[in-house]
C-alpha cells in the first residue's frame, strides 16, 4: 500500500486522539468512581440504577417511618407502664383503706393521694409524641382525655407501612386499655369511684373497687403486651427495611460504580497505549527524505 505523508499525519492524529480519549475516560472513571453517568454508558445498568435508587429511597423511608412508629409505641408502652403502676398503687391504697381500722380523716388524706395518681394517669394518657397525642386515635391534635377521665378520641388505630404496599397497626387503643371499651372495666372511672369512696369514708364501695382495679391492671398489661407485639413487628420490619435499603444501595453501587482495580489497570494500559502512539508518531515524522538530503 502506498503511504502518503497525510496518511502518516492523519494516522498519528487519530491514534493519539483515540488513545487520549481512552486514557481520559479511564482517568475520569478512576477519579469519579462512576462507571455509569449517562444512559448511553450502559443502558441496562442505567435503567436498573434508577430502579435501585428509588427502591433504596423507598426502604430508607420505611426505616424512618417504622423507626418513628416504634418510638411512639415505646412512648405508649411507657405510658401504659406508668398507668399500670398508678392503678396498682391505687389498688394498694384501696386494700389498705378497706380496713375498718382507718378513720374518715385518714381516708380523706388517702383520697388526696389517689387524686394525684388520677391526675398523673390522665397526663400519661395524654402523652404526646412528635407533637401529637398518641392515644387519641385519628383525633390526635387535641388531648384525648379530659380532667374527668372522659375519652374524646376516636376508635381509629394508626397504621404504618412496614413493607412496600403492606400496612400494619401501629397503635394500641387507649379507650380499650383505660376505659374498657368493648367489654373491660373503666379504670379511670373506678379510680374516681375510689376517690369518692375514700372522701365519703365508704368502706364497702372502697372494697367494691378492688376487683375492677385488678381487671384494670390486667387490661393495662394486655395493652402493653399488644404494644410489645406491634413493636416486635415494627422492629423486625425496620431491620428488614434496613437490610433491603443496604441491599439496594449495594445493587446501585454495583451498577454505577467502577471497579477501582479494573479501572486503574485500564487507565495504566490506556496511558501506555498513548505513550506508544506518541512515540510511534514522533518516529514516523522523522523518517522522511527531507531529513536525508539537507
Amino acid at each position: 500500500m502506498r503511504v502518503t505523508d497525510r496518511m502518516i499525519f492523519n494516522n498519528a492524529a487519530k491514534s493519539t486522539s483515540k488513545s487520549r480519549e481512552k486514557a481520559q475516560q479511564a482517568t475520569s472513571e478512576v477519579s469519579s468512581g462512576m462507571r455509569v453517568v449517562h444512559p448511553g454508558d450502559d443502558p441496562a445498568a442505567a435503567g436498573l440504577l434508577s430502579g435501585h435508587r428509588i427502591s433504596e429511597s423507598r426502604f430508607a423511608a420505611l426505616v424512618a417511618t417504622t423507626g418513628r412508629a416504634s418510638d411512639e409505641l415505646n412512648a405508649a408502652d411507657k405510658a401504659f407502664e406508668g398507668l399500670s403502676e398508678l392503678i396498682t398503687r391505687s389498688r394498694e391504697i384501696a386494700i389498705q383503706y378497706a380496713n375498718s381500722t382507718y378513720s374518715g380523716p385518714q381516708r380523706e388524706v388517702a383520697a388526696e393521694e389517689v387524686k394525684a395518681l388520677f391526675r398523673h394517669s390522665i397526663s400519661l394518657l395524654n402523652t404526646r409524641a412528635d407533637n401529637r397525642y398518641i392515644f387519641g386515635g385519628n383525633l390526635d391534635s387535641t388531648p384525648p382525655f379530659d380532667n374527668a377521665g372522659q375519652y374524646h378520641g376516636d376508635q381509629g388505630i394508626r397504621r404504618v407501612e412496614i413493607a412496600p404496599g403492606v400496612v400494619e397497626d401501629a397503635s394500641v387503643r387507649a379507650d380499650i386499655v383505660a376505659k374498657g371499651v368493648g367489654g373491660g372495666v373503666d379504670a379511670l372511672a373506678t379510680v374516681q369511684s375510689l376517690i369518692t369512696a375514700l372522701e365519703s369514708n365508704d368502706v364497702d364501695t372502697i372494697r367494691d373497687t378492688l376487683d375492677p382495679l385488678d381487671t384494670a391492671i390486667t387490661q393495662t398489661a394486655n395493652g402493653r403486651a399488644r404494644a410489645g407485639a406491634i413493636l416486635a413487628v415494627l422492629d423486625s420490619a425496620n431491620m428488614a427495611a434496613r437490610t433491603a435499603r443496604d441491599t439496594e444501595k449495594g445493587n446501585a453501587s454495583r451498577e454505577a460504580d467502577s471497579d477501582v482495580f479494573e479501572s486503574a489497570s485500564r487507565m495504566a494500559l490506556a496511558q501506555r497505549a498513548l505513550d506508544a502512539a506518541l512515540t510511534a508518531s514522533a518516529q514516523s515524522f522523522q523518517l522522511t527524505l527531507l531529513n536525508k538530503i539537507r
Partner: protein, 468 residues
C-alpha cells in the same frame, strides 16, 4: 535528417517538458496538505520521429502528453455514501449523548424526584397531622413537578438546538449546491479546450463530499462529465448545471419543529423530505427518534402518574375536612404533560389541603388514603403496559441509553468504513513528499541533461562555425 539547429530546438521543447514535470511535482508538494487534492503526474512521451535517415528514424526529443490525476474511480464512487452514513451516525450520536436530563443519578433528576416525592408521602403517613411533614410532602410534590418540567425542557431544548443546527446546515447545503452547479458549468467550459481541469475536478469532488456529508446526497455523473446530486426519491439537489434549494418550515404536526423540504431547479416544489441522510438526516433522526420517544414517554409518565394520584387525592379529606382537591394540575391529555405539570396552587399554598383521610371525621390522624396515594408508586400505569412508575422510568432511561449506544456503535462502524475508504483514496491520490522530491530530482536531472545536450550542440555548432 537531424541537423544541429533542430537538436537545439528539440532541446528547448524537452526543457519545457521537464520544467512541467518539476512544476507539477512542486504543485503536488505545495498541496501536500490540501484537503481533497489529488496528486498530478506529468505523462511524458517521446516525440514521434518525422524524418528518417538512411534506414533509421532519429528521435525528436520529449513532450508532455498530458497531466493526469491519480484517482481510483471504484474507491471514489463509494466515498460519498460512506461519508453520508458516517455523518448521519455521528451527528445522531453526538446529539443524543449531549442530553443529560435522563441521567439516572442526576441530582434533581426524575429518579431522585420520584424517590423524594414518595418518601415525603411515607413520612407524612406516619403523622398526617404534622405541619412540617405536610410542608415536606408539598415540597416533594413540587420537586417532582419541577423535575418533570426540567426533563421536558431539557429534551425540548436539545430538539430546538438541533433545529438551529439544521437551519445552519441548510444554508450551507444551498450554498454548496449552487457552487457545485456552477462548477459543472466551469468544468464543461474547461473541457471544451481539450485539457482536463484537474484542480476544478478536485474542488467539485470536495463539494460533492461536503454535500454527501450534509445531506447524504448521491452523486450521479452524466456523459457530459457533469455530476448531479440526488437525495430522497431521486430528487435532484444539483441537476447538472442548476441547483435546487432546501427549505425549512415549522411543522405544526411536530410541535412546531422544522420540516425540511426541497424546491427543485425546475421551479417545482417545495416537496417534503422525510428520509434525508448525512448530518441533517442524523440530526432529524435524533430529534424525531430517540429524543421524541423519550419526550413522549416522559409526558405519558407524568400524565398517568398525575391522573392516578389525583384520582386518589381528590377522593380523600384534607386537614380542613374538605375534599375534591387534585394534587397536581396536568392537561387533559398526555401531550406536553411533563412540561405543564404543576402542583395544584391551592395545595401548594396550603399544605393542610393534602388529603390523607378517608372521612372528614377521621382527620387529622387518618392516613388510610395516604397509603392509597403511596400505592400509586407500585400500581400499573394506564399507558405503560402494566408497568409501575419506577419500572416505566427505568424503561425510559434504558430505552434512551440503548438508542444512544446504538447510534454510537453505528457511528464507530460507519466512521471506520469511511476512514478506510478515505485512507484508500489517500493512498492512491495523496501526495507523498518523498515521492515528489524524487520526481522533482529526477526532472531536475533530466533538465540538466537536456541543458547539457544544448551546450554540447552549441559547441558543435561553434566548431562548425570555426571551420575555414
Amino acid at each position: 535528417m537531424a541537423d544541429l539547429l533542430s537538436i537545439l530546438s528539440q532541446g528547448a521543447s524537452s526543457l519545457d517538458a521537464h520544467r512541467a514535470s518539476t512544476a507539477t511535482a512542486s504543485h503536488n508538494l505545495q498541496n501536500v496538505d490540501t484537503p481533497g487534492y489529488s496528486r498530478q503526474s506529468v505523462m511524458l512521451e517521446a516525440v514521434i520521429p518525422a524524418t528518417s535517415t538512411t534506414n533509421a528514424y532519429i528521435g525528436r526529443g520529449v513532450r508532455v502528453e498530458t497531466i493526469r490525476q491519480a484517482r481510483d474511480r471504484f474507491v471514489e464512487s463509494q466515498i460519498p455514501s460512506a461519508i453520508g452514513s458516517a455523518a448521519r451516525a455521528s451527528s445522531e450520536a453526538q446529539s443524543l449523548s449531549t442530553v443529560h436530563v435522563l441521567n439516572p443519578d442526576m441530582a434533581g433528576g426524575l429518579t431522585s424526584a420520584l424517590a423524594d416525592f414518595f418518601s415525603g408521602l411515607r413520612a407524612l403517613s406516619q403523622n398526617p397531622g404534622s405541619t412540617v411533614l405536610r410542608q415536606n410532602a408539598v415540597d416533594g410534590a413540587r420537586g417532582l413537578a419541577s423535575s418533570f418540567n426540567r426533563t421536558a425542557d431539557g429534551i425540548t431544548s436539545a430538539r430546538t438546538a438541533i433545529d438551529q443546527e439544521i437551519e445552519g446546515a441548510i444554508h450551507e447545503v444551498n450554498d454548496l449546491a449552487t457552487r457545485m452547479a456552477a462548477l459543472n458549468v466551469e468544468i464543461r467550459k474547461a473541457r471544451s479546450t481539450g485539457a482536463e481541469p484537474n484542480d476544478l475536478l478536485d474542488t467539485r469532488a470536495k463539494l460533492r463530499d461536503q454535500l454527501a456529508e450534509k445531506t447524504g446526497a448521491i452523486p450521479v455523473p452524466n456523459s457530459q462529465g457533469d455530476i448531479s446530486m440526488t437525495i430522497e426519491n431521486g430528487m435532484a439537489l444539483v441537476s447538472e448545471t442548476s441547483a435546487g434549494q432546501l427549505s425549512i418550515v415549522p411543522d405544526p404536526a411536530n410541535d412546531g419543529f422544522l420540516k425540511v423540504g426541497i424546491s427543485l431547479s425546475d421551479g417545482t416544489g417545495p416537496f417534503s423530505l422525510s428520509s434525508l441522510g448525512g448530518k441533517i438526516g442524523g440530526l432529524l433522526n435524533a430529534r424525531d427518534g430517540a429524543l421524541k420517544n423519550a419526550a413522549n414517554a416522559v409526558d405519558r409518565l407524568a400524565f398517568d402518574m398525575a391522573e392516578e394520584l389525583n384520582a386518589v387525592h381528590s377522593s380523600a379529606y384534607a386537614l380542613d375536612k374538605s375534599s375534591g382537591h387534585n394534587l397536581f394540575q396536568v392537561g387533559s391529555d398526555p401531550h406536553q404533560a411533563a412540561k405543564n405539570l404543576t402542583v395544584n396552587p391551592q395545595v401548594s399554598a396550603n399544605p393542610d389541603l393534602i388529603a390523607t383521610a378517608s372521612s372528614a371525621d377521621t382527620v387529622p390522624g387518618d392516613a388510610s388514603r395516604l397509603f392509597a396515594l403511596i400505592d400509586v408508586e407500585n400500581a400499573p400505569l394506564a399507558g405503560s403496559g402494566g408497568k409501575d412508575a419506577t419500572a416505566t422510568l427505568s424503561q425510559i432511561i434504558s430505552g434512551y441509553g440503548t438508542a444512544v449506544q446504538r447510534a454510537e456503535a453505528y457511528k464507530e462502524n460507519s466512521e471506520s468504513i469511511r476512514d478506510h475508504l478515505l485512507n484508500m483514496r489517500e493512498s492512491v491520490s495523496g501526495v507523498s513528499i518523498d515521492e515528489e522530491i524524487v520526481n522533482m530530482t529526477r526532472a531536475q536531472r533530466a533538465f540538466e541533461a537536456v541543458a547539457k545536450v544544448i551546450t554540447t550542440t552549441n559547441e558543435m555548432l561553434e566548431t562548425l562555425m570555426k571551420l575555414k
